[in-house]
Symmetry: C2
Subunit: 469 residues, 2 copies
C-alpha cells in the first residue's frame, strides 16, 4: 500500500516553506512511481501524434472567425468527450474576424520582382489598385525618427530589423505602421520577425489602429526580400514598391473556448488549469503554434483518466480561442470565473512549441500591473524544483523564472502563478506564423515528452497539500 498520493509533495514543498507544518513522512518513491507511470504511458502512446496530425492535416489553419476554427472547436470537444474528460463544454466568445483577402507586393524599380509577403493581422487593405510608392529603409525606430518628415511623407517604410529575440523585434511588427504613419508614410513593411531564410514570410498581429493617427496598411516581407530591398537602397538606387491588399475586418464572429476536466477528489473547486490556444494564423497548419500545446493539454488529462489517477484538485483543460489576434478567449474565461479565479492554484500554458521540453518557467505577479511578486515567485519556484526531478527521464527537469502565456495572463493578473512549458524553440522561430508551421515539424517523441511533462506537473500541483503561496 502506498500512502495517499496527495501527501506525496508535502515534505518537499514544506522544506522550502518552513512556516507550514511538516507532519507527513517522506514518500518520494511513491511520488516517483506515479510520475513514472504517467511518463511511460505518455511515451508509449501515439495518440498525441494522431491528434495533432488530424488537426493539422484534416482541419488545417484556423484563424478567429474562420470555418476551420469552428471545425476545430467541434473536433476538440468531441475528442475530449471520447477520451472521458468530465464537464466537457464550449464557452461562447465573440472574436474579431480579420480576413486577409488577395494580396501581393512587387518591387517595381529599379527592376520588377515579386516579393514574398503576408499582410499583418488587423491591417486595413490598400485602396483598389494598390499603393505604389518609393521606399525608405530603416533598421530602428530611432533611425526613422532621425529622418525628416518630408523624406518619409508619401513613402513606404521598410523596417529592416534583423531578428534577435522575439520581444526585441516583434515591436516593429506591432508598432511599425503607427510610427510610419506618424511620419506621413503610406504603408509599412516589416522584415519577417523570425529566422529561417527560405523566403518564408511570417505574419502576426499589428497593434490596433489608434484614433487620430492615419491608418496605413502593413505587411511582412520575407527576410530575403527585406535584405534585397535594403541592399539596393544602400547602393543609392531609389526602390519603388507596389502593395496591394484586400484585407478587411468583418463584424465579430462567434467562437468558443473548449473546456474539459478531471474533477478533484478532495477539493474539486480548486483548479489547476492547463492549456494552449486552438486558433492560429491563416497560414500553414498552426501545428507548433499552437496545435501542439492544445494536444499536450488534452492528452495530459486523458492519461490521468486512463490510469485512474484522480488528483486532489481539479485539473482543467482550456483550449482558448483568439490568442493570435485579440485574446478574447482568455478574457472570457477569466470573466466566467468571477471570484472563483482565486481558487485557481496554478495555470500552465504550452505555447512555445512542442520541441523537446526542458522544463517550466514561472512568473507570479503581485497585481494587475504585472509587477512580479519576487518573494512569492521564489517560494513557488522552490516548490516546483521539488517536483522537477520527476521529469528528468524526459529531460524536462529544469525550473526557471519567467513563465506565463498570453492566455493565462488574465489569471496571473489575479495572482494565479503562471507556468510555461518550456522548449528550446530551436525550430519555432523559423516557422511560427508562417506556411511552414506544419505537423511534419513535430517530432512525435518530443511531443510525447511534452505530454509527460504537462501531465506530471499538473498532477503534482493538483495533488499538493499546501497552497502555492
Amino acid at each position: 500500500m502506498r500512502p495517499p498520493l496527495g501527501a506525496a509533495f508535502a515534505p518537499l514543498i514544506l522544506s522550502s516553506l518552513p512556516a507550514l507544518a511538516a507532519d507527513t513522512p517522506p514518500v518520494y518513491e511513491s511520488r516517483r512511481e506515479t510520475a513514472d507511470r504517467l511518463i511511460d504511458a505518455a511515451m508509449s502512446s501515439d495518440e498525441a501524434w494522431r491528434k495533432i496530425a488530424y488537426l493539422g492535416d484534416h482541419i488545417g489553419h484556423r484563424l478567429s472567425g474562420s470555418s476551420q476554427l469552428s471545425r476545430a472547436v467541434d473536433w476538440a470537444a468531441e475528442q475530449m468527450a471520447l477520451d472521458g474528460l468530465e464537464n466537457v463544454r464550449r464557452q461562447r466568445v465573440m472574436v474579431p474576424k480579420w480576413v486577409r483577402g488577395a494580396e501581393r507586393a512587387e518591387m517595381i524599380s529599379p527592376r520588377r520582382a515579386e516579393l514574398a509577403m503576408l499582410g499583418l493581422g488587423r491591417s486595413i487593405g490598400t485602396p483598389p489598385g494598390g499603393i505604389t510608392a518609393p521606399l525608405v529603409v530603416v533598421d530602428s525606430f530611432d533611425a526613422l525618427h532621425a529622418i525628416r518628415d518630408s523624406d518619409v511623407h508619401g513613402r513606404i517604410v521598410l523596417w529592416n530589423v534583423p531578428f534577435t529575440t522575439y520581444s526585441e523585434t516583434v515591436k516593429y511588427r506591432w508598432s511599425g505602421a503607427k510610427e510610419a504613419a506618424l511620419k506621413g508614410a503610406v504603408a509599412s513593411l516589416v522584415r519577417t520577425v523570425g529566422r529561417g531564410t527560405l523566403r518564408n514570410p511570417h505574419t502576426g498581429a499589428m497593434a490596433p489602429y489608434e484614433e487620430g493617427i492615419p491608418r496605413i496598411p502593413a505587411a511582412a516581407v520575407s527576410i530575403e526580400d527585406a535584405m534585397m530591398l535594403a541592399r539596393i537602397s544602400e547602393r543609392g538606387e531609389e526602390v519603388t514598391v507596389h502593395l496591394e491588399m484586400n484585407a478587411r475586418t468583418e463584424p465579430d464572429a462567434e467562437s468558443h473556448n473548449v473546456i474539459g476536466e478531471i474533477v478533484g477528489r478532495e477539493r474539486p473547486d480548486e483548479v489547476v488549469v492547463i492549456g494552449g490556444h486552438l486558433d492560429s494564423w491563416d497560414v500553414g497548419q498552426g501545428a507548433q503554434d499552437d496545435g501542439g500545446g492544445c494536444v499536450v493539454s488534452m492528452e495530459a488529462v486523458r492519461l490521468l483518466i486512463d490510469l485512474g489517477l484522480r488528483p486532489r484538485r481539479t485539473i482543467r483543460v482550456v483550449l482558448w480561442t483568439n490568442e493570435e489576434n485579440g485574446t478574447a478567449g482568455a478574457e472570457a474565461y477569466r470573466e466566467s470565473l468571477g471570484d472563483d479565479v482565486h481558487k485557481h492554484v496554478a495555470a500552465i500554458e504550452s505555447d512555445g512549441g512542442v520541441e523537446n521540453p526542458w522544463g517550466f518557467g514561472l512568473t507570479v505577479w503581485a497585481n494587475e500591473d504585472q509587477d512580479v511578486d519576487e518573494a512569492r515567485q521564489e517560494r513557488v519556484l522552490e516548490a516546483l524544483r521539488e517536483i522537477a526531478p520527476l521529469l528528468a527521464k524526459v529531460g524536462a527537469d529544469s525550473i526557471a523564472p519567467g513563465g506565463g502565456g498570453a492566455d493565462i495572463s488574465p489569471l496571473m493578473e489575479n495572482l494565479v502563478p503562471g507556468l510555461a512549458l518550456r522548449t528550446p524553440m530551436d525550430l519555432y522561430w523559423d516557422i511560427h506564423h508562417s506556411e511552414a508551421d506544419t505537423v511534419d515539424k513535430i517530432d512525435p517523441i518530443a511531443l510525447n515528452r511534452n505530454v509527460a511533462a504537462m501531465a506530471v506537473m499538473a498532477w503534482a500541483l493538483a495533488e499538493s497539500t499546501v497552497p502555492l503561496d
Copy 2:
C-alpha cells in the same frame, strides 16, 4: 629574382610522372609565393561579392530565353571588358524557351488547401480549367509498377520520395511524368528534390517528352505538401487534387555564351577553360546555382590580370548559357572548337555553390561513352595533389576522384580532364532551383575562398610544363 613562374610545377608534377624528364630545380617556395599573392588578393577584395550581388539583385533569375538572361549576358561581357580580360566575346547559341505561366495546385478533398508548387521545366500546361483527379501516392518506380494500370488510370501520381542524394532522387523529377503516363496517369507531381523544409518547392528539368508516350503535365510540390498528401492517403482517405498550369514551350530563342581570357605567354593555343553557367531557373536569384560559379571564374582571371601573372597557357572563362534546360551552350562551345578541343588541357566548372570550398574533384573519361580512364585519371589526380597544398590556407587542399560538370561534359567526352570546384553543399540542397536561392545565402568570405581556389588551380595548370596525360 625568382625563376620563371612557368617552371614552378614541373618537379612536383614530374615526381608523379617519372617517365618525363626531371631537369628543373625545386622551386616550391616560388610557386607558394605566387599562390599566396593570388590568395591574398582574392581574400582582400570585395569585387566578387559586388558582382554576385549586382547579378542577383539587379538582374535576378535568368531562365533561357528570358530578357533577364540577355541582360546578364550584356552585363557579364561588359564586366569582363572592364576588368581587362582579353578576347571578350559572345558566342551565339539558340536555346529552348520554356515559359512557366500562371500555375497553381490545390487539394480539393478531403478538404481544400492550396499547395506550394512549381511546374517542372519542359512540362506542358494543363487543359484550360486545369485537371482535377484523385491522387495515387508512391515512393518508388517499383511501387508504381506494382499497382494495376486500372488503379492509376485517370489519376495524378505523387512521387513522395524523401531526398537522399540528388542523383538518387532527381530521377523521379526527370522520369516521373513518363512513368506515370505509361500507367495512364493524367499528371505527375514530385516531392521537392531537395532538403530545407520551409514549404519551399524546388523546380528543375524533366526529361523531354517521348514519341508515343502521352504527354502529361508535371510539377514539384513542397516537401510539406507531399508529406501531408501522403499522410492523408495513408489514412485511407481519397485525396483529390486540382492542378492548373499555363506552361508552354515557345520557339527557340537567341542566347550567348560569354567568353573572355588571359592569353598564354608561351602556348596561347593551349587552354585551361574555367566557368559556370549564367542561366538559372526562373525563381529566386540563381545565386548559388550558378551566379556564384560565374563570378568565381570571372574573378579568378581578373586577379591574374591585376597581378600581372600571365601564365604559360591561355586561361579562358566561359559562362555557359542554358545549362538548366538543355546545355545548348555547352554543346555550342564544344562545336566551336573543332579539333582544337584537344588543345584544352583541363576544364574546371564551379557549379556546386560557393560555400567554403574543400578542393577539387576530377574525372577523366576514356571515350564519348563516359567510361573513366582510370590510369590517366590517377596520374592527373597525382598532379593535382602536388598543387593542392598551395590552397591549404583557404581550406581547399583536398583532391578526390569524381569531378566534371554539365557544361564541360562535351569537352570531357573529348578526353579533356574535367575538374569540379568542390564545396560541402550544406545549404545548396535547401535552396537550389527555388525562390530561396538568393545572394544573402552567399558568404562573401567563402565566395572569396572559391575565387582563390579557382585562380590558383587554373594558374597552376596553365603554368605546368607537362601535359596532363
